[in-house]
């Protein structure tokens, strides 16, 4: 697949607004890992679960939290049921469960067109199963690790907690990480390793790993000039799916770059109040420590070199005018979507850069990547991120609190792999967008 030559060939078109909308601010919408539903965290203390097939409300989860629900995360890899974690400004996290056979049925019925929301009995509903408290103030974000073993929560109390579910509803606090000096805005897990990242009001991102029973900070990323609102890892093995997938005829230099990237593993993207989206990369370890942890080397040996070095690979084209609250890194296409206070949605794509011998890019624009980043810059500059789509005032005059990619599931779906963008706004609306080639 040849890289797109013209950057702005794509438009962002409205597909649907999830209905009915919430009458107050909505914070975040998280697609279910397997089913075509999405959960929206609302400031009216509810979670709304909408269908991504019909774009209508399936369930309202109410009655648990005393204040705004700020974040929602689906537990991955659960069989037979859906498990949702909610993080609230009331400083607690809730765990909710629903029998998934019921949910699958709903979806079938719904597909068959005979879904009637009012039919829903108690047993179909999400049931509160336990509360996790310990944080001192508002929970800002929470996230299950890819294995579902751990749940990370973070709060205005400046701490990041890691919980482990030993058995159903028996959670243990296994770490309380106090490295940040300010409100912690977001937590995210590495897709392949038990590596946790957190972003904070103190302008830093911190990474943590377990070292002989103790979770410790293994890296600190210090590059944003203001609050870091969002942190998200790249998907696993994206080099098979994004611009790197096409390997034939790559120059030696480019082939080397792909190899280096694979050694680094999934990258990290952050968005900030300083209006920038930045990509960070791990410096591959001599003799690749990743493999050693996979081989289950004893802790003692691992702890010798548990520290990691992350460096800034690039800054994405800066086209946001205000704080960027959220970004989403597609696990299917490798594209990044970002949104925030300025009401804009931007979509970026990475591609090989056509470098002229004098270092000026083919299109004559100036390279945005930081020149003071460490080694790897030389490689990083082989690629560039371009804005492929831009949408103004997606939620009218309102701020966009969250944006994410989701698998397209409605009848109009054009391919198995097609994705939609879901934006969640201050206006209480959750909108679904499709990308149209112009």
């Amino acid at each position: 697949m040849p890289p797109p030559q013209n950057a702005s060939v794509i438009t962002i078109q409205p597909l649907a607004t999830l209905s009915p909308p919430c009458s107050s601010r909505t914070w975040q919408s998280t697609p279910h890992p397997t089913l075509p539903v999405i959960a929206t965290a609302c400031s009216d203390r509810t979670v709304r679960v909408y269908s991504l097939t019909s774009f209508t409300l399936l369930h309202s989860i109410t009655g648990g939290h005393k204040r705004s629900i700020r974040a929602v995360s689906w537990k991955p890899g659960v069989k037979g049921q859906s498990v949702l974690a909610t993080g609230s400004f009331d400083a607690s996290a809730g765990i909710w469960r629903r029998d998934e056979r019921g949910l699958a049925e709903d979806t079938q019925r719904e597909r068959a067109g005979d879904w009637d929301g009012d039919e829903e009995g108690e047993d179909d509903d999400y049931q509160f199963s336990c509360i996790l408290d310990g944080h001192e103030s508002e929970i800002k974000s929470l996230s299950w690790s890819p294995s579902g073993q751990y749940l990370a929560t973070c709060s205005r109390d400046k701490s990041v907690w890691i919980w482990e579910e030993l058995e159903d509803d028996n959670f243990e606090t296994i770490a309380v990480l106090q490295e940040h000096e300010g409100d912690v805005k977001c937590v995210a897990w590495h897709p392949e390793e038990d590596l946790l990242a957190s972003a904070s009001y103190d302008d830093t991102v911190r990474l943590y790993k377990e070292d002989a029973d103790d979770w410790v900070q293994v890296a600190m990323i210090d590059g944003h000039k203001k609050t870091v609102w969002w942190v998200e890892f790249e998907g696993s093995e994206m080099s098979a799916r994004d611009f790197r997938a096409h390997r034939e005829g790559l120059s030696e230099q480019r082939a080397h770059h792909v190899e280096q990237l694979e050694r680094s593993g999934p990258r990290l993207a952050t968005s900030s109040d300083d209006c920038s989206v930045r990509i960070w990369r791990r410096k591959p370890r001599e003799g690749s420590a990743q493999t050693s942890s996979r081989l289950g080397m004893p802790n003692i040996i691992r702890s010798v070199a548990i520290d990691e070095e992350w460096f800034q690979e690039t800054i994405l084209p800066q086209q946001h005018e205000r704080a960027i609250y959220s970004l989403s890194w597609s696990r299917r296409s490798g594209m990044i979507a970002s949104a925030g206070s300025d009401g804009k949605i931007l979509v970026y794509k990475e591609r090989w850069k056509n470098v002229m011998p004098n270092g000026v890019k083919a299109d004559g624009t100036v390279d945005h990547s930081d020149s003071d980043a460490m080694e790897g810059v030389e490689n990083a500059s082989l690629t560039e991120w371009v804005v492929v789509a831009e949408l103004f005032s997606a939620h009218d005059v309102f701020e966009i609190n969250h944006v994410c990619w989701a698998k397209r599931s409605d009848k109009g779906r054009r391919s198995e792999d097609e994705e939609v963008i879901v934006s969640t706004g201050d206006d209480g609306e959750v909108k679904v967008w499709v990308l149209e080639e112009r």
């Binding site: 009655g63 049931q127 001192e136 606090t173 296994i174 106090q178 520290d307």
Partner: protein, 631 residues
């Protein structure tokens, strides 16, 4: 003056959260002390809220648990405060020998009058220091010496000829340097007694009335939780008041030392508590907070205390190992050059009461011998051994929990488990303990639709029942226990401290430039090693058998809380009879009942999330000026 600490260590702390407020009693002003008044008044006068400099989160890892007001109280206890007090007051070494009343005989200020700094000669004070074994262990590791040597050096600094007495406005120094391990023995015996009594079938289960949950005269509920760690107590009071009925009522060794000294000297020897200045040298900042508790003042034990009297704290000031080094540096004393030998006993001022003197200054040192007892005083282990003594043929089994800071102990005989206890150190483990002790109704989300198949409390699954089975849980806020307290010399500071003292790392002890978690663990291991370094050839020779001297008499078990524990008298080298003899002697001397001396109380502290942020600031401002830097 050395700046290693003053500047750096404040930055180590996380500034306090605004979510909680703990009512702070204002403490007596001491008008004779002019120092720092200006500074504190400035703080009070300034418009923006004063940045709270120290919070205790270093230990507790919990930002919300210290209010700005507390942070101010705590920051007033510093090595500067020690210097100021020494410079303001002459030391009275034997005020009980003076016949002219409480002010002592000497009226002239000795030493030069330091006009430049406005030093005035205040009334004389009797300076007393108590030193925790953890502080000694920390310094021992830094200077690659034994814990005993570190103790000798501290004594040399505080009362020796080459120490503090050489400088300052009045050449003031400390009359006594007490090892808190000595007083800890009384705590251990009392703790065992408390648990055995509270959990015995005969224990009257007084129904708790609302509001009396943490009162001094209530019996704690199973599992009884250690009260010696102020970081933990502070957290429990503010965040989990449902735990108050479980807290041991026993004072910590630091507090008990203060009560002992001040009550005996004031009740028997007519030296007012305000004339005794008690400094404690402790492993953490939280101990400063403990020292400022209103429950731990003369008001709690003075028999005729009236509300018009200003309560005097049992511990006036707490400093840590690092601050002790600063204290020395501020007087241009190189700590490492102090003699490592004990002060000659001929120069010792005996405590006026011979029995208490014998208790406080035993001829042999108290050692922390047994690593199995843990690094935080060995409460659990002593209690367990007490049970063991009652059950001949039983044995103790120890199993490590999920991490090194969770350890379960059980006493078994044949296949019967007699009693189970556990150790939970560190904030994350405390979380798990607390969650399992939480009554189900609290953990339920009101109004939420609850799964039919599930228990509402949810967390009550496997782990929960186990925790409720424990008779006693030794809870400490610091991972690794008190040897890892927030005021200990940290691995990152070792180099700096050594450089400042002009010494090199000894015997291949390399401290790496950027210490990671691994180095930290190794360092902690060294401190632990120093803490337990008492173990060795003379293991069981530590007992101080002075029955004869003490004029053994049969102690009537005090009606409410006396020793009613059957079984062998000597547990782990500590004779219960001795301790109870001493306690009743103390009670007789002062006319205060034993429970009033030994126990303390706790109270629920209301959090006011989002309600009165302003009041926090006002409170700090008001507090700072009313204190006037008084202590």
């Amino acid at each position: 003056m050395s700046a290693i600490l003053s500047a750096d260590d404040l930055n180590d702390f996380i500034s306090p959260g605004v979510a909680c407020i703990k009512p702070i009693e204002t403490l007596p002003e001491d008008k004779s002390n002019a120092y720092e008044v200006t500074t504190e008044d400035k703080v009070a006068a300034s418009q923006p809220p004063p940045p709270a400099q120290i919070s205790l989160t270093d230990c507790l890892a919990c930002s919300g648990c210290v209010t700005s007001a507390e942070a101010v109280l705590v920051s007033l206890q510093s090595h500067t405060e020690v210097l100021t007090t020494l410079d303001t007051h002459r030391s009275l070494h034997t005020p009980w020998l003076a016949h002219s009343g409480t002010n002592g005989t000497k009226h002239a200020c000795n030493g030069t009058h330091n006009g430049a700094n406005g030093h005035h000669c205040g009334e004389g004070k009797l300076f007393v220091a108590s030193v925790s074994p953890h502080t000694r262990a920390s310094l021992a590791a830094v200077f690659s010496i034994s814990e005993a040597e570190a103790g000798n050096m501290i004594a040399q600094l505080l009362s020796g000829p080459l120490g503090l007495k050489n400088g300052g406005a009045h050449g003031s120094d400390f009359t006594w340097v007490i090892d808190t391990n000595v007083v800890r023995e009384a705590c251990l015996v009392a703790a065992a007694n408390e648990v055995v009594t509270a959990l015995s079938p005969e224990a009257s289960s007084t129904p708790l009335t609302a509001g009396s949950e943490g009162a001094i005269d209530t019996t704690p509920k199973k599992p009884i939780l250690t009260s010696a760690c102020p970081g933990w107590i502070c957290y429990a009071e503010k965040t989990h008041p449902f735990l108050l009925p479980h807290l041991s009522r026993l004072k910590s060794p630091q507090a008990l030392t203060g009560t002992l000294i001040k009550s005996v000297l004031s009740q028997r020897y007519n030296i007012p508590p305000s004339q005794i200045w008690h400094l404690a040298i402790m492993p953490c900042f939280d101990k400063k907070l403990e020292a400022s508790r209103s429950e731990l003042t003369s008001a709690a034990w003075l028999p005729h205390h009236s509300s018009s009297q200003d309560p005097v704290r049992d511990v006036d000031c707490v400093i840590t190992a690092r601050e002790l080094l600063h204290l020395a540096a501020a007087r241009n004393i190189a700590f490492s050059s102090l003699p490592r030998t004990p002060l000659p006993s001929s120069q010792r001022t005996p405590f006026p009461d011979p029995k208490i003197d014998a208790f406080l200054f035993p001829p042999t040192r108290r050692k922390n011998k047994d690593p199995i007892a843990g690094s935080s005083g060995g409460y659990l282990y002593h209690i367990l051994q007490t049970y063991q003594a009652q059950h001949p043929g039983s044995s103790i089994s120890v199993s490590r929990g999920r991490n090194a800071d969770v350890v379960e102990y059980s006493l078994v005989r044949n296949s019967e488990t007699i009693v189970k206890m556990a150790r939970f150190y560190g904030f994350r483990n405390i979380q798990n303990l607390v969650r399992r002790l939480k009554p189900a109704k609290i953990s339920k989300m009101p109004g939420a639709r609850v799964g039919r198949s599930r228990k509402p409390g949810a967390n009550g699954a496997a782990g929960g029942e186990g925790v409720k089975e424990y008779a006693y849980v030794e809870v400490m806020a610091c991972p690794g226990g008190c040897t890892n307290g927030g005021g200990q010399v940290k691995v990152t500071e070792v180099e700096e401290v050594r450089a400042a003292e002009g010494i090199k790392a000894v015997n291949g002890d390399v401290v790496v430039a950027r210490p990671g978690p691994k180095e930290q663990k190794e360092w902690l291991g060294r401190v632990d090693e120093a803490y337990f370094s008492g173990s060795g050839s003379d293991s069981e020779e530590e007992k101080v058998d002075r029955d004869g001297d003490w004029g053994m008499k049969d102690v009537d078990a005090p009606t409410t809380n006396g020793s009613s524990v059957p079984g062998a008298d000597v547990v782990s080298g500590i004779s219960r009879t001795h301790i109870w003899n001493l306690l009743s002697h103390w009670s007789d001397t002062t006319g205060v009942e034993i429970p009033k001396l030994l126990y303390t109380s706790y109270r629920k502290v209301e959090s006011d999330v989002g309600k009165k942020k302003q009041s926090d600031v006002e409170r700090v401002a008001g507090l700072a000026s009313s204190l006037g830097g008084g202590w």
